[in-house]
Amino acid sequence: MDLKTLTFVVVGLSFALYIGIAIWARAGTTKEFYVAGGGVHPIVNGMATGADWMSAASFISMAGLIAFLGYGGSVYLMGWTGGYVLLAVLLAPYLRKFGKFTVPEFIGDRYYSQTARIVAVICLIFISFTYVAGQMRGVGIVFSRFLEVEITTGLIIGMGLVFFYAVLGGMKGITYTQVAQYVVLIFAYTIPAVFISLQIAGTPLPQLGLGGSVGDISFLAKLNQVVTDLGFAAYTSGNKSMLDVFCITLALMAGTAGLPHVIVRFFTVPKVHDARMSAGWALVFIAILYTTAPAVGAMARYNLHATVNTAVASGGDVFAPEASIQGETRPEWMKRWEKTGLIKWEDKNGDGRIQYYNEKSKDEAFLAKVEAAGWKGNELGSDKKGKFDGTVDRDIMVLANPEIAGLPNWVIALIAAGGIAAALSTAAGLLLVISSAVSHDLMKGVFAKNISEKTELMAGRIAAAVAVLIAGYLGYNPPGFVAQVVAFAFGLACASLFPTIVLGIFSKTMNRGGAIAGMLTGLIFTLVYIVYFKRDVLLGMEKLPDSAWFMGISPEGIGVVGMILNFVVAYIVMKMTAPCPDHIQHLVEDIRYPRGAGAAQAH
């Protein structure tokens, strides 16, 4: 069977599985639609959370980002896992005890204010839509690359599938399909990693392989030597300022804990104890991918260099003319992926060979060697709208990884199914929180309080359907900046929802005025800072120099400053406005004690 047919079969089988589960797990009540009936086992919920959490970006892009950033990629590894510790100790158990359906509902009840609830809905919709558009785009891209269909066709198939199980099954359908999707994506991710680790470091565990050795030196030392020989920064050193690394990591952690589609997963378990355990299980399932990713990244980087320069593996002189491989005899995978534009070879010095190195190096000795070897610029990059771009697209590090390592076709087909599973599971989780914010918070909660449960369920389904259509449109016609903005969803969550929820639990006196003022300050400050410094991608204006950043903090890390402002403003406004009423203080008291969580359903 050829690769394309095999890929169709594997992806088709995974789809049949999701559809089967969706039919089996239809939602009959609003409780099933919003929180899967509230009886999900903590390990099952942990696995579903893992799939919900690990998006197209985690699966397709992260290892490639790490491959090119080296130590700098650590911000994503620590940032996207450390948030679960915050969830487990600060949020999940208390929100589970509170026992309602949505995040805005908690904020509205705790701060006895419809306004607070609506502000929370605005934050939620803003965060979730930027995030979901990237997922739908991811589905389209995987389809077009592996199955060679139009992005639009891939998008429509993906939308149809999410529509089917999110609209029909609600949280219940999503939970059980996510479990299946987790299994698909984790196998797709780890199997190639195991093979590659065996090839390079001789050990099947990628986590040990990254710390293993090649010949008589450690793999990381070898990689450092290879990349510095070619003019790049050493792999294990970073180049961002320490304060910025600190802020980005913290923004990603607090942002993770403040993302509504992650928080609601903890409403689905039966008890407070289960909410704590479930956070642990979720991180176990996430850690399997997240501790594999740095090995995948580092080894793919090594393999890429070793492929185009034979002196890398043999330890010879990388500048020797015959070390660079001939363009004509370049590997098949490179030719195949050139069609997608992710990788491109441009023979700048006309010698028919591929020279891949850092042409922007400022090292005089290195540049002299480049000059002497007759290299006229880096020749390996990607295709950006028909023009040669000097950076290889980072996504290729995962997508083409099995081919670079020469693994069998079924592994390549599995990668396609895994990428689609990662994107679909996250998209479904996001669409559900958007639809419940509309049907439960805006309609049932504020604008149409008298609707029956049946009408509310129907409203939830219609809202989910409309959200799928909007997400599909954004994926088809991305406003140019979607990919860049997904990372900023974390900054916004970190500055708006996270501090407000934490204060709602740990301060009995925080009041309505403080919470609303804090949330708005955090959201607006962070949003304005991001738009101001990303005006080149967002508004098409001239780029501002990075030296203008506030204290050297990049837009990715500014959510931390937004969070601090949120806390400070909330405190000041609280002091100036009417105190928090007694019955709310009792409510806060009540959510702190686990007993009675099962019964605390005010519906």
Partner: protein
């Protein structure tokens, strides 16, 4: 919700907050401490083929986070039982 007679809300919350502070401190030390602030100093030491600070940043912190959450959950169960607010 009916509270048991010997229940001391203040003591329970104090115990919870103490555990929370310890957990957050460990969380901070293994990631921000070992992986970022003191990375250069730790990188002098090697764990297998890993410079130690790099290991904390890309592997160790994640393993410790996992263990930390289960440890926290276990300790919270104990506190819940001691103060008789555990779930039936």
């Amino acid at each position: 919700m009916s509270k048991p007679g010997n229940f001391d809300p203040k003591a329970y919350w104090q115990a919870t907050l103490r555990l929370l502070m310890v957990t957050i401190a460990i969380w901070f030390v293994v990631s921000f401490g070992a992986g970022i602030l003191f990375r250069d100093a730790l990188d002098v030491v090697h764990l297998g083929g890993y410079p130690l600070g790099f290991w904390f940043a890309q592997q160790g912190s994640i393993f410790i986070f996992v263990g930390l959450i289960f440890w926290y959950a276990k300790r919270m169960d104990k506190i819940d039982r001691e103060h008789d607010v555990h779930e039936e």
